[in-house]
Symmetry: C2
Amino acid sequence: MTDGSRRAPNMQDVARLARVSVSTVSRALSGAPGVSGATRRRIGAIAEELSYVISPEASGLATRTTRKVAVVVPETESWFYYAVLCSAEPVLRAAGLDLLFYRVTGTADRNAFFAELPARRKVDAAILIAVPVTDEQRERLDTMNVPIVMAGSRVRGYPYVAVDEAKAGRQAVDHLIRVGHRRIGIIRIVGPEGETRQPDTGRETGYRRALAAAKIPFDPQLEVRVDFSLDGGARAMDQLLSLEQPPTAVFAFSDEIAIGAMRSLRRMGLRIPSDVSIVGIDDHPMAELSDLTTVRQPVHLFGETAARMVVDVLKKGTEPANVVLPTHLVVRGSTAPPS
Amino acid sequence: MTDGSRRAPNMQDVARLARVSVSTVSRALSGAPGVSGATRRRIGAIAEELSYVISPEASGLATRTTRKVAVVVPETESWFYYAVLCSAEPVLRAAGLDLLFYRVTGTADRNAFFAELPARRKVDAAILIAVPVTDEQRERLDTMNVPIVMAGSRVRGYPYVAVDEAKAGRQAVDHLIRVGHRRIGIIRIVGPEGETRQPDTGRETGYRRALAAAKIPFDPQLEVRVDFSLDGGARAMDQLLSLEQPPTAVFAFSDEIAIGAMRSLRRMGLRIPSDVSIVGIDDHPMAELSDLTTVRQPVHLFGETAARMVVDVLKKGTEPANVVLPTHLVVRGSTAPPS
DNA sequence: GTTCAGAACGCAAGCGTTTGCGCCCTGCTA
DNA sequence: TAGCAGGGCGCAAACGCTTGCGTTCTGAAC
């Protein structure tokens, strides 16, 4: 039993025991100069003994700082967001920053979120993980008056860490073309209310460029858009297969979409890759198990980098430089020449 | 442009404009009695106008409360934790509580985590999502002196929301036995340093009970333990298949493990379920796609319930009652009578 | 023996709220 | 008309820390 439900020790208590003033305790504990080594050690020992921890509220009040950063994710419960979240956490924690988790669900709620800005005054910075923001929301965002970094998507005017989506798209589609496909479908995603997402348009650009480079005409029939889920992928594939002239290969927005699509193919009795080739993006853990060709993006670097950017801007106060992470093709068994 | 980098408005500012004292503003804004309707409205309007938000630091300092709750997850980057996290968030937010996210990684680091207790003094309550805690750590935990609820595992002395793991295990294995299997393997998980996890032992109990009920002798050879990952599942399956008398059915700790195991089976050229039946636990989104028979647990209710328990205990101060969530068998194509 | 520069430390004024208590009304009762 | 209750509000003391500035003290330079 330590102290039961007694009030937690404060600096006053430490000061009393150390026979010094609270100022000295504050300086000693924070590593500020103006305290002799001996005193500093004594104070440290006593604080330790009392298992004293500084009150973040009081400290924050005095320094006008919160030592917290908001990480906000969109509704989709995809693996991607958790991976980024998890990789950001240790970096922030190492820097003494706490991570406030927010999830904005649905567009209605999304507006409410940005209107209320629950993070206002609660954080020193924010990381948005592939959260789409409209101009209006953006304005609200600015009233938070803290540095913001985007992870996994680019929003004009904010520092970001992202991949070159168009390039990733090209890597995927170029591969399909290289092995011989000419009729290539694309499965894109849309938000719950039909909004388009930035990574999606980027990847589609890559798709178009790849086609153009190979002089393959763009066929709008081969482009379907679904919500971001396994099931969406499955439905999209059904739709593509129902075309009078279905694609021989499909580029899916992500591995999760691709895996959903593969399910449809199997259900239809079609073989991968002999009947239809398929390529995704991410290198999701399931991708290897599904033998899915994909374009790997360094997901964990998103979180790490975004966190580091935040830490730096908070420490140095300098606007962080954007970071573009590399992607590369991982060829597995889901792609092969058309038969 | 709102106020650029000016300091945020405080209660003083609102009070001045409303020609009242800060006490009145405080009472008006917090809904406390002792303020006339007219004054209250005037203050509300002015606060709105200034887009004033209360300083959580100051408010917290005065009330000795943080309005934050810690959610801590273990290292494993499994879908489960994110699902629970995501379902807890809206409940907490609706109650005006912010969610501080912590992840304890590795056992070495795990000790450090409990030793330092980074959440100390930063939260009003904590939710541990299937985080194993030793007796020693538990003692440390108590020094946080805030209510703690366990989601997805039971730790003696803490309120929890969980499923009956043994029952879930039985549901899975009873099913295998019912369709005719007698030689049934089990894939269990271990922590990074070989520790056993509470849900794991529970499920194993269910396995043993099911065997016992069917008078099938327990064969230790049929029990393998691996780390909690897709790959772990695959390796476990390899091991089971290498037995001189391999099982005709396998009960996997979770769907992710099961899916890894299925991969091994396919690689070996074995067919599911004709050669080997397999059943998991969770009803992971991938389970349906993989046509995996499983025992569904209401994952989202873990988060919701845990959050609600926290909200209640914070509001009413009464120790919350434990909640045991139901599980039920979902039969799909991965199980069938042995051939 | 002065003088003086630092080093080491304390004082006290914040930081922005909450809240117990007391004061001043207004309006009603006797 | 005096008395009184109670609503509406302000005062000021916390809450637990940080930090500019002032004070004391020690030791070295002269």
